[in-house]
Symmetry: C2
């Protein structure tokens, strides 16, 4: 049996490895989870014993095949629940993260299957992030981060890659949501910040914001 804490570690390792690619460091996991490096070390040994990760002391960790499968399944549940909360219970996209974080640990394959059907097999969650399928495939979406598109081009926001209330609240303030059309007017070479146009209004955002916005150009 896999415990709640273990599930959270697997999820954190997956999330971190998606950002960095390759082996994940103890500190990176500690940051992601909000715990001490010592606790992470302890847990990595346990996950190793259960063959959920491949771990070498001082060398970092990666998910095993089994671990990846488990982690992706948790992600799948998280995103299905977020979709339920927004589409069926009318929560705002900035409100659902914490509750989904609890719901993702409910154990019942039947439940997840039925929930998915009830939601009409969505491919993307309310933040535009792909919902892994039952067999662990992650839908691709042909999008690129806003900070990587050419100056002068237009595109639509298809998703965000950060699920944090402060970030999503800021987007709302900027009038950005899924579907919003954005044109990149200028990139400031000093700090890579961007001048953009939304509904004929010029605005200015940092590179840090831009890199979490997924754009589909026309």
């Amino acid at each position: 049996m896999i415990t709640l804490a273990e599930e959270n570690y697997l999820k954190a390792i997956l999330a971190t490895s998606l950002n960095t690619d390759g082996k994940v460091s103890t500190n990176a996991i500690a940051d992601e989870i909000g715990t001490s490096a010592a606790s992470v070390s302890d847990m990595l040994k346990k996950l190793q014993d259960k063959r959920l990760v491949k771990y070498e002391k001082y060398k970092g960790v990666i998910l095993s095949k089994r671990g990846t499968k488990k982690a992706i399944n948790i992600l799948r549940k998280h995103r299905l629940w977020e979709t339920f909360l927004v589409n069926k219970l009318a929560f705002g996209w900035e409100e659902v993260h914490d509750v989904a974080e609890q719901l993702e640990h409910i154990k019942s394959e039947e439940l997840v299957d039925r929930l998915e059907a009830f939601l009409n097999h969505p491919q993307f969650d309310p933040h535009g992030e792909p919902i892994p399928t039952k067999n662990g495939e992650i839908p691709k979406s042909n999008t690129i981060p806003l900070n990587e598109i050419k100056t002068g081009t237009k595109g639509n926001v298809m998703g965000v890659t950060l699920d944090e209330k402060t970030f999503l609240d800021y987007l709302t303030k900027l009038n950005i949501s899924i579907g919003t059309e954005i044109e990149v007017l200028e990139t400031i070479s000093f700090d890579q910040s961007l001048s953009i146009k939304i509904e004929n209004k010029k605005q200015h955002i940092s590179n840090d914001v831009a890199k979490h916005l997924l754009i589909k150009t026309k």
Copy 2:
């Protein structure tokens, strides 16, 4: 903060006290939860410290006002989730208990409120049991257990008071579900078992089964 184990104890104390009325014994709780009497003793001390129960060594325990409120709220969540699972996800009434037992511990008042609205403020769950309101009132239903109605009278099953798969499966086999009309033909004084008629078919059930069937007579 109240832990998951504590919530389960409160629920168990409430359930036990509804059956027996008055103080609840350590063993009764141990049976309900499926743990040892020693563990119950430990936990009762902790619940006492948190003012969730009134407990005297060797004398039994009752829920405090705060404890009652918490326990009823868990029951409310359990029954709302069961309603969701049956009405929205098309689970059978005998399949939902275990999953609801997990879902009842999700912490979010907002979620419960919205779920209730989404389900159209149901008063009874799929087993006919009353769903406590937000302020802790438990709807009454004007029903009596089948083993207490007079021989020769007819009535309809409005609910069951036992949420166990084996019991519910047996009812299905007997062709009993919510709404079913039952006539009591005879009560055997030896063992209090009952001859009943359902859809013109004579059947025989034990008193133990009859007492868990809530009937509304015409």
